[in-house]
């Protein structure tokens, strides 16, 4: 199998799994227990928090463990809105957020908030001027993702943060696709809240975190005991949190080694596709993007059909086509960038990771043009354009 779907999930690093294993049946203590057995688990969790704080350049107290990225987004957004002293009904987010953010805002809209869903330019980026014009005196919170999961496009979070801090508006960023892939320094970035997920950077599924800048009040969204300093109740998922800590430690040490190698493979893949397949384009090719992500639009064929054919050949990718999402609408990200529906239906996403090799990319470059050719032969559009 050639796995090129790392923006969906990554394999847990073997060092991560090794670190987790004892915490299932040997060191299974509850970190809230006073006895030494429980305190051993507590120490391991705090070590994990330390590794995450080191990766994020923040204080340990600013890290709140959650069950994953979706819960992190819900807690960061809803938790601060509930707790903030500033009274206002206006919120801003972008139209290309992941559903784990978009649908939180849609819910808030139903609950009485007014929400502006900011458009993006044709490159998929928020323009700072558009944001500035959307802000109002009663704007309480803005949420814009660090990097887009489909296209890899990086949003100008630093500029956004400085603008918002001048106006005293809370800034949240969904950094699920960025944490562990690129260095992020919370000590210098003007970010109040950030969400991340362990399984996107070599950790296990079932753990994530919120970075919550000190002195920002946040109400728990899961209510119960006094875990996580009263910010998230429930016995900690000890093995997964420890795994996430190890993944953060590895990411911190190895991030720079991987950027250039994976980036070169991604570029080779894109050049090869552009050379061997007519009428394709790479979304936001000339914009600052995650080095591991490539979103390709192929004319006259549909995304899921490409995905399934690649799957038959052992190549695992993803598609933003309507047919993979269970709705009839294609990717909201591509539509927001201004691509017509018929083009957006033909999208295919390659997202690379640590384990990918040049040999694998060569195989994809052999198989993918064949897949496109086979499907184009079946397509009425291609047939018409040839006659």
């Amino acid at each position: 199998m050639i796995y090129l779907d790392h923006n969906a999930t990554t394999p847990a690093d073997p060092r991560v799994v090794k670190k987790m294993l004892p915490y299932f049946s040997e060191k299974y203590g509850n970190p809230s227990s006073v006895h030494s057995f429980g305190q051993e688990a507590r120490a391991a969790i705090e070590e994990a928090r330390h590794h995450i704080a080191t990766l994020m350049h923040c204080h340990e107290k600013e890290i709140i463990f959650t069950s994953g990225g979706t819960e992190a987004n819900n807690l960061a957004i809803r938790g601060t809105l509930e707790a903030t002293k500033k009274k206002g009904r206006h919120l801003v987010t972008s139209s290309i957020e992941h559903h784990a953010v978009l649908n939180v805002f849609k819910r808030l809209e139903k609950e009485g908030y007014e929400v502006t869903f900011l458009p993006v330019n044709s490159d998929g980026r928020i323009e700072i001027q558009t944001l500035a014009e959307a802000l109002r005196p009663d704007t309480v919170l803005v949420s814009v993702m660090t990097a887009n999961n489909e296209s890899g496009v990086m949003e100008p979070i630093e500029e956004i943060g400085f603008l918002l801090h001048e106006r005293g508006i809370l800034f949240h960023t969904d950094a699920v696709q960025a944490v562990g892939k690129i260095p992020l320094d919370c000590s210098s970035l003007p970010i109040d809240l950030l969400s991340a997920s362990a399984h996107k950077f070599g950790g296990p599924k079932g753990a994530g975190f919120v970075y919550c800048r000190k002195n920002i009040r946040i109400n728990p969204q899961i209510v119960g005991g006094h875990h996580e300093k009263g910010r998230r109740a429930g016995t900690e998922n000890v093995p997964c949190i420890i795994g996430m800590g190890k993944a953060a430690e590895i990411a911190h040490q190895e991030i720079n080694k991987e950027v250039f190698r994976i980036g070169a493979l991604r570029d080779k893949l894109e050049e090869g596709i552009l050379k061997s397949i007519p009428e394709v384009r790479i979304v936001s090719k000339n914009v600052l993007r995650l080095y591991n992500t490539s979103l390709v639009l192929v004319k006259y064929v549909e995304g899921e059909a490409m995905l399934l054919n690649l799957d038959f050949e052992g190549i695992e990718v993803s598609s933003g086509s309507a047919c993979t999402s269970g709705s009839l609408e294609p990717s909201h990200v591509l539509l927001a960038c201004g691509y017509p529906h018929e083009d957006a239906h033909g999208s295919i996403r390659f997202s690379l990771g640590k384990t990918n090799t040049e040999e694998e990319i060569n195989t994809v470059l052999e198989v993918f043009p064949r897949v496109v050719e086979k499907l184009r032969k079946m397509s009425p559009f291609k047939a018409q354009s040839l006659t």
């Binding site: 086509s321 047919c323 079946m378």
Partner: protein, 132 residues
């Protein structure tokens, strides 16, 4: 997600391609929705002698097109006309709920191609075309 039968028809679609001089052609769907099917029929003595298709769409769209051609080949047109999306789904051993619209499209493609044939035949016999 998909039955073995769907995957088989998607992977090895039957009767795919454009037909030369078809007696009836039905084009349904919309590129905006991500599915377009074109059904071509060869008809002799009111029997569907051959059926072919071209489809732009997902795995289910291609599989439903393929099975629909198999279901109607050799059938008298009055029988083929009664094809239902349910019959298409059953012949494929089921479809995921989100893909049911693909089977409806296959049914419509067959009906539209037969309509086209009948319209042409009526015109050929000098009768006024119904939808003109």
């Amino acid at each position: 997600m998909y039955s073995q039968k769907v995957l088989d028809h998607f992977r090895n679609p039957r009767n795919v391609g454009r037909m030369d001089n078809p007696d009836g052609v039905g084009k349904v769907g919309n590129p905006v929705c991500g599915d377009v099917m074109v059904m071509y029929l060869k008809i002799k003595n009111d029997i569907i002698e051959d059926a072919m298709f071209e489809t732009f769409g997902c795995g289910a769209a291609i599989a439903t097109s393929s099975i629909a051609t198999e279901l109607i080949k050799g059938k008298p047109i009055h029988e083929a006309q009664n094809i239902t999306n349910k019959a298409v789904v059953e012949a494929l051993d089921g479809l995921p709920p989100a893909k049911m619209h693909c089977s409806v499209l296959a049914e419509e493609a067959v009906k539209s191609a037969i309509e086209d044939y009948e319209k042409k035949r009526n015109e050929g016999e000098g009768k006024p075309a119904e939808s003109a």
